[in-house]
């Protein structure tokens, strides 16, 4: 238990660092953010209003504290309506705890601010709409990678140094060397265009599509196939390598020899004794991969037109919608840290030898 608390405390410390890095990276930008928001047709009065509304007229350190205050679940807010931290209705989702003097302390959801370009749409709303799609994509890709990867890794280890192993190895190295945008283009072209007659897959398409009459949104699982496969290529390549190497190591262990001596069939040995022990490095690697896949989905979603976080990031990059990019980076970092804690727990469950330190 204290192990878990320690882990969580360290995770919060790490996230604090992430928030700091993100804030300062995005605030040393050469441009004036207020000007970026208004585009070309601003006048000085509007500029001043926007600056005041978002706190851009304050020194950087003050802005930094405002940012932290916006993100913290427990935050402090002024009672003066002209202050940046004033609890404006509709801005925060908060419930007040207590008031001391001019400041109210509230419990609230982290506030990720508003998009520059989408008429003040909340970033949390933008992310809330896109993140589930990316999540579906990433989970499918990971499942494909684990299932195929473990099987191919076992085959590779069983036929070590034979042609089957060698071809799987070449495939795996190839999978690691292809830029994901390039494989996405290739797959979209080949399976969605050249072989369209046979596959009936589209080159682009999202999970939710308008039907032919343009009336209702429908879920189209068909559109998931190509992006999930493409996104899965790289983790698949890694899983194959890890599974093969760790299985080869396990094969040299005494307990495998014992199992063989008992006269168990090769299949039983692999199923009952080898695979579970060989899975540890795979699980560790997947943890690192999952979050970077959310980011790696940028290219895949962009090319397949998948309405996810990645496509949103590319859009935000083109329109310099900084709050959206900051929010996206932050959300992915939080997920990464949480997954790491989760994986530590799975690791303990898989391998009782690992002591809780």
């Amino acid at each position: 238990m204290s192990y878990l608390i320690n882990k969580i405390a360290y995770a919060i410390l790490t996230l604090f660092g992430v928030v700091t890095v993100i804030f300062f990276l995005f605030n040393v930008l050469p441009g004036d953010p207020a000007q970026m928001m208004l585009g070309q047709n601003e006048d000085s009065e509007q500029l001043a209003t926007v600056k005041q509304k978002y706190g851009f007229d304050k020194p950087l350190s003050t802005q930094y504290f405002y940012y932290l205050n916006d993100l913290l679940p427990i935050s402090f807010h002024s009672n003066q309506a002209e202050d940046y931290t004033f609890l404006r209705a509709g801005k925060y989702v908060a419930s007040p705890l207590f008031t001391i003097g001019n400041t109210t302390t509230v419990l609230k959801l982290p506030y990720l601010r508003e998009s520059f370009t989408k008429q003040g749409k909340k970033v949390s709303q933008v992310l809330g709409e896109t993140l589930p799609n990316t999540f579906v994509l990433a989970v499918s890709a990971i499942l494909i990678a684990i299932m195929l990867g473990v099987i191919l890794g076992i085959v590779s280890a069983l036929y070590k140094d034979q042609w089957l192993d060698k071809s799987i190895q070449i495939f795996s190295t190839l999978g690691m060397s292809v830029p994901s945008f390039f494989s996405a283009i290739l797959f979209a072209w080949f399976f969605g265009f050249v072989l369209h007659k046979y596959t009936h897959l589209e080159m682009t398409g999202s999970l939710h599509e308008l039907d032919d009459f343009g009336e209702a949104m429908h879920i189209k699982w068909k559109n998931l196939i190509l992006p999930a496969v493409v996104l899965g290529i790289r983790p698949l390549a890694v899983v194959i390598q890890l599974m093969r190497n760790s299985l080869l190591e396990v094969f040299n262990q005494d307990y495998i020899r014992t199992a063989r001596a008992k006269g168990l069939s090769e299949f039983q040995i692999i199923k009952k004794h080898a695979v579970k022990n060989a899975l540890n490095p795979v699980v560790t690697a997947i943890s690192g991969w999952f979050a970077s896949m959310l980011a790696g989905a940028v290219f895949v979603e962009y090319i397949f037109g998948w309405n996810g976080l990645g496509k949103e990031i590319v859009n935000a990059l083109n329109t310099l919608d900084l709050p959206v990019i900051m929010g996206a980076v932050l959300v992915i970092a939080v997920l990464f840290v949480m997954i790491n804690i989760l994986v530590d727990l799975i690791y303990v469950w898989l391998d009782p030898k690992v002591k809780l330190k």
């Binding site: 360290y10 890095v21 060397s177 830029p179 994901s180 980076v329 992915i332």
Partner: protein, 364 residues
């Protein structure tokens, strides 16, 4: 022959030489390196960034050839040979693809090339435009081995010149990541305690932000352009180096030769640089090869998104960005060629990395 005891380095070298794919990939990398340094020597179009456009003959198939009229540039160039070889020719002449021409006593009349069965514009210019009044020397048949891109530039030249960015980003990023990573990793591992805790915190923070997004954030902060990408990639990749160096130093620190060096009263600096680092270089070398590959992938991705190398600079990623729409217009090679280039170069670095890992006996 007497038995000679070989050093670890020689043993590793022997082992590496036996790995066919490792040696092959290293040769391939050397070849690409040479090509990227001497890109303007090999490239048919040796203008700066291979940016000689002929819009009339855009996106032609590989092996396409056309008569090309070269109008000498009126501007004097005072570029020396060295500059020309390294950075391409500036103030280039105007090139006009023509379908037919005839030379009179005083004038040259030519018909500009027009595709899709259109009639080209007929123009007449005096022969005095050419040095010595000899026009025929300035009309040559030009062949485009890989065809032309959507601006009618020679694709082969663009690919050759584009090798530079991919190659040099690898070098710069690996260099930066080594300098920062080895330094941070050494002091964290060697001194431990609070220094270690702080550095590990920085490492964990950097680790938590996905590389691609961190690089995007840094490039936004530093402005678009290829130098910014170089630095951004280097600034994100040091983390892996630092983790490995730190881990290695922690396990090496207790070795007797380090204790001996300490007993002799050597300074910490000397112990780290002279005694520990040379012994833990193997995993660092392996990681650097992987980082090289990763840097090439990230740069191509950034250029594909349009925040890497800016036009007219040639970069493989940007070439795919420009042409991937042509893939369904029956000209897939425009995007396939640069894509295959990225793939083969990255794969070469990965194979060298694997071969080095086996040769140096580093646990992956």
């Amino acid at each position: 022959m007497s038995l000679k005891s070989s050093s670890l380095k020689q043993l590793a070298l022997q082992k590496f030489k036996k790995n066919f794919w490792g040696v092959f990939s290293l040769c391939f990398i050397g070849f690409v390196g040479l090509v990227s340094v001497f890109a303007y020597v090999f490239a048919p179009d040796n203008s700066q960034y291979a940016n000689q456009m002929h819009l009339a003959i855009h996106s032609k198939r590989p092996g396409y050839s056309v008569n090309m009229l070269t109008l000498p540039s009126a501007l004097e160039t005072n570029q020396n040979l060295f500059d020309k070889l390294l950075f391409g020719r500036k103030n280039t002449d105007t090139e006009i693809p023509i379908s037919e021409y005839y030379i009179d006593k005083e004038t040259l009349t030519y018909t500009e090339y027009a595709s899709d069965g259109l009639e080209g514009v007929k123009k007449t210019i005096p022969l005095s435009r050419f040095p010595n009044g000899d026009a025929s020397q300035f009309i040559k048949e030009k062949t485009f081995l890989f065809g032309t891109d959507k601006y009618g530039r020679d694709l082969l030249s663009r690919v050759l010149v584009g090798a530079r960015i991919s190659f040099f980003i690898g070098f710069v990023a690996v260099f930066i990541s080594l300098v920062i990573g080895v330094f941070m990793g050494s002091i964290a591992g060697y001194f431990g305690g609070k220094v270690d805790a702080v550095i590990m915190w920085i490492i964990n923070v950097t680790w938590s932000i996905p590389t691609l997004l961190l690089v995007i954030a840094i490039t936004l902060a530093l402005g678009k352009g290829f130098w910014q990408v170089f630095i951004a990639v280097g600034l994100t990749m040091w983390v892996e180096v630092a983790r490995v160096v730190r881990g290695q130093i922690i396990s090496t620190k207790e070795m007797q030769y380090v204790t001996a060096a300490r007993a002799l009263g050597f300074s910490d600096y000397r112990i780290i640089t002279k005694h520990i680092l040379p012994n833990i270089m193997a995993p660092v070398i392996v990681i650097s090869a992987a980082n090289f590959a990763a840097a090439i992938l990230i740069e191509s991705g950034l250029s594909f998104l349009g925040i890497g190398a800016q036009p007219p600079m040639a970069s493989w990623g940007a070439m795919i960005k420009d042409h991937y729409n042509y893939i369904i217009l029956g000209k897939p090679y425009l995007a396939l060629i640069p894509g295959l280039c990225i793939m083969s170069l990255v794969m070469a670095f990965m194979l060298v990395g694997n071969a080095l890992r086996d040769a140096l006996d580093v646990k992956g």
